[in-house]
Symmetry: C2
Subunit: 198 residues, 2 copies
């Protein structure tokens, strides 16, 4: 292709975004150029601002534009209650539900023997440190229901065994709106074992 060098460069960078391939990157860049005043300029400035300031929260590992993320800096949120998640995407998913009002701790992944990821590669030592520093009374494990996620949950549970802190994990069962016919055996088994009085 023989476009402009700058435009080609922009297309190549856009194509590296998850969910965009070369074709959709071209379409997006063309759209951006058509709307260069309303969209391309503001987007460039917004990206530059985030690129200049984005960092991991020193406390919980969430992303933000200050040393403490918006959640850790929010004094209206309960302290003493920490929800442990694998990554920032999971934290955002929890926040969208909008029901949890405590603090988070982002591990930055899961234990994985295959990938050689041990406890010190995650933010598990920081979690143990926060338990005493923040007078934590309950830790909620909101890890993915995958093998690695559950391995990590069990490891953290072991670490907390002799600490004076309540430990819980998200309930497993039938998702809201879910149809039994489409659920896997594991989910149905978990839902049956955890059945409760109607």
């Amino acid at each position: 292709m023989k476009h402009d060098k700058d435009i080609d460069g922009l297309i190549a960078l856009m194509a590296r975004l998850p969910g965009l391939g070369p074709r959709s990157a071209r379409r997006a860049v063309l759209h951006l150029i058509r709307k260069r005043d309303q969209l391309l300029g503001p987007l460039a400035q917004s990206m530059q601002r985030v690129a200049d300031t984005a960092r991991e929260c020193l406390n919980c590992g969430n992303v933000g534009t200050a040393d403490l993320c918006a959640i850790c800096a929010d004094e209206t949120r309960a302290t003493g209650l920490i929800c442990v998640v694998e990554d920032v995407g999971d934290l955002w998913a929890m926040e969208r539900a909008g029901v949890f009002k405590g603090r988070y701790h982002v591990l930055g992944g899961t234990l994985s023997a295959l990938d050689g990821i041990g406890p010190d590669d995650l933010r598990i030592p920081q979690l143990l440190h926060r338990l005493s520093a923040e007078h934590v009374t309950e830790v909620i494990l909101a890890l993915n229901a995958t093998i690695d996620g559950q391995t990590t949950a069990h490891y953290i549970a072991d670490q907390l065994e002799h600490r004076d802190v309540a430990l819980s994990s998200l309930a497993q069962g039938v998702p809201i709106g879910g149809e039994l016919d489409y659920l896997d055996d594991g989910t149905i088994t978990a839902a049956l074992n955890a059945r409760k009085r109607f």
Copy 2:
């Protein structure tokens, strides 16, 4: 959601790109923040550069970062041969095929009675001007095979009737790799009518 204000703003802008919704915009922004040195910073600068310099080529209507686009400024390309396309995306598609070595003329849309788009809303007067200014000997109509595209093609053909210039349009027929069973009746009819000796 209670993220950082700057990050929320970036997600909202990204969600306005074609092909990205709120969910994929969040995923893209998270990816950008993780790769802020390799990707977010360069992307912001690339966007700013294009936002500052992108404009329509004064001659053909292609987008570029100078008054004359890369194609119009390329002296190795044939003059006297103009390929008329609806929009820049179509021009890029022609360029990807890489077989056309003349110049382009981007109309910026098609005639449309429904949307109130007449000849003066497109770049048809500029096309007529170029015919004499550039000593054009052949005009190739590469308009989409839609009702509006073909209406526009006929209008341009009428305008060129008494000019000393050859007029052609892209062949219609079976696409390369196409299977007859999946083709519509119109395409098969066109391919049959335009059949050629084997």
